[in-house]
Symmetry: C2
């Protein structure tokens, strides 16, 4: 398994493009297209928020047959809570792409991200479609990656290559997400943050295998990051597999399936970390590693509870190694926690053991919390399960960015 | 039922005092004492955090017989996660008060609030005890109210008077709390934020009635506020009833019980609002009123989810009426939400109905969100239950205060 260049256009048979159609007030790109030359097996996982954008509903419908060929996505407008006309607009977006590309409407997947509640300027999208199709390029991944960004400062692309038997298979992805990030996605009903991730592969894989691999990879990666605890209405991860690598078909519970799932997990973890590094206002990258939990769910709960704590995140911003807040957040996570068994390390230094502090050099702890990368390890001492969550600090800049998002 | 002056010393037979014993680096008061001249029926409700300070454990133990006479409380140090010696220190604090006042140790209740994980300077507390006892005063409530504050800018006191039959009964309280505020307290196992509230009354009331009235009042008040979503290890509400009003004994499920419960609820709501107004860095007071929910629990969940959303709170700080974030937070609350039935009002102006925005004058909405007091109404259109939560905005100042809390 190795990292390669090319993002979503790294796999055989995929082209992409991105341009500015006029949704964003800035002149930045706001419309992206990803097209496979062949029909694909496909799957998606979506936000579990009960308020879901029309694109989420439409994709679930279009994915019922496990097939798709195109992804069209806009940034700058979430097309969520925009009433019946919002649904019409998402359908028009799919229809325009279908016509422009000569494929069936049910094989188009649609995604939107941006402000909630504002009508989507559909005419701009439809009007730009011919140019967007014309711009499709074997090296268009980067352009598409830029066109789906909102508050992100950098485009997020990754691609890998691995073997299935003797056949070389490629898989690539582009993603966005820097705020409203606390994804809890599920195959049928998904959950937090606008994060979008589009994956392409030339592997031959059964839709059920794609769904299972997506779900497994998301649980350990996207669903374990949080920037601000707010779950979006538009989160989605889509995968298109066009089979052009001509490998033996990947089905569940096989060695090949595990390789595919591992590749997805590796890519998603890399993208998750990029999202945290690009998080709105963030000055630090933080891993919360929880070990020896009684159950896997407990490990995940404690890791996400600490990662979501505003007080822990403020302490990180201020480089103040106030580990009491970490213990408190573990305690209210809902997981089984025994304070007498809890051991907390900041970097490599133990700070809590046997229910009380471990004396440490204060300057040393301050130095650990002053780094750009901070690792916090929480040993629950109750079992054998572990999980990591990834987060950033909560800065005055985050508040500034989000208090003036629309103005 | 009427508001009176005097806080915890308004009821007959109570004295209080507060002084600076040296825990805080500033010269502010940090040790408080509340004493009844007679033994009291008593009850408490505590944080449901699994990590609980030693004072929480000790009080649960001391309240097993439903009796107590004294509350001793320090600020500036939470005495939490301080190991076996932390428990010893809480016990020493109770013992010193017991000796100084000539009452049994099991009738002393102890409370601490401040930094987690630092050894409590018990010698300073024990050393100051004689003076603290000497200072006990029939008008000492305000002094005690100041001595329990941490980041609070103002002392929080309230007292009321009502009748049980022909007897006049008084009830008073002091409280603290401005950060780490997201209480979810329960009688046996409590949950979020350091908030402390000490209640005194001269009513004659059964311990079971006191517990039930506390629980009922907390559910609608303290457990419905959030400042930062972080639940403390030390939250507690304690009540002492010394019976000196000589009313007919208040027992559960009677008219008198409902009057007592209503008085507590009224006081706790007033204190809850004071806490929000005094919240760290807050510039706005916000009520989230949720109505027509399918269940009471759903109404509470939606109200607290919106009140806890960092993005909603940043929008409030920036006076940006970005109601899409409100809809998103309702959607991820876990409650039953139908986006097509959801109606959202900012102040008196509808902004969302029938799944899409209601066109409003933008300047008007901006004006509503610019007020010091903002009311957001969310109609779920699914049933008949309602709930209110109270919160504040998330400001750059909140982040500043909490990034340098210990330094």
């Amino acid at each position: 398994m190795k990292i390669i260049h090319g993002g979503v256009t790294a796999p055989l048979g995929f082209k992409a493009s991105g341009l500015h159609c006029g949704i964003k007030k800035s002149k930045k790109k706001d419309l992206a297209l990803i097209v496979s030359e062949k029909i694909c097996d496909a799957a998606g996982t979506f936000t579990t928020n009960k308020v879901q954008a029309s694109c989420v509903h439409i994709n679930k419908d279009h994915l019922k047959d496990g097939r798709a060929q195109v992804i069209i996505a806009n940034s700058g407008n979430a097309n969520c809570m925009t009433g019946e006309s919002g649904f019409e607009n998402s359908r028009s977006m799919a229809l325009a792409a279908a016509r422009g590309l000569g494929v069936q409407k049910k094989d188009i997947l649609v995604a939107s991200t941006g402000v909630i509640g504002k009508p989507l300027p559909i005419k701009k999208i439809v009007g730009a479609l011919p140019q967007l199709v014309k711009d499709l390029d074997k090296h268009g991944s980067e352009s598409a990656a830029h066109a789906i960004l909102t508050t992100d400062r950098m485009a997020k692309e990754v691609a890998m290559e691995f073997h299935v038997g003797s056949r070389r298979v490629r898989i690539g992805a582009i993603a966005k997400g820097a705020g409203m990030i606390h994804p809890e996605m599920a195959i049928h009903t998904p959950k937090h943050a606008t994060m979008l991730c589009f994956v392409t592969t030339d592997a031959v894989a059964a839709p059920a295998a794609l769904r299972a691999a997506l779900d497994r990879a998301c649980q350990k990666t996207f669903n374990m990051i949080t920037i601000d605890g707010d779950m979006s209405t538009n989160d989605m991860v889509l995968i298109l597999a066009n089979g052009m690598a001509q490998n033996k078909k990947i089905v569940e519970n096989t060695k090949e399936f595990r390789v595919l799932a591992k590749a997805l997990e590796t890519m998603f973890l890399a993208i998750s970390k990029l999202m945290i590094r690009d998080a709105e206002g963030a000055t630090k990258f933080v891993e919360i590693f929880v070990k020896n939990a009684a159950t896997r769910e407990d490990a995940r709960r404690v890791a996400k509870s600490i990662a979501s704590s505003n007080l822990v995140k403020c302490a990180l911003f201020g480089s103040d190694p106030n580990w009491g807040r970490i213990a408190a957040a573990a305690g209210y996570s809902g997981a089984h926690v025994d304070p007498w068994k809890l051991v907390i390390h900041l970097g490599k230094e133990a700070v809590l053991r046997n229910g009380g502090r471990v004396k440490q050099n204060a300057a040393n702890l301050n130095r650990i919390f002053s780094q750009k990368n901070v690792k916090i390890t929480v040993d629950l001492g109750l079992g054998k399960f572990s999980a990591s969550s990834y987060t950033c600090d909560l800065s005055t800049n985050y508040v500034r960015i989000n208090s003036a998002y629309r103005t």
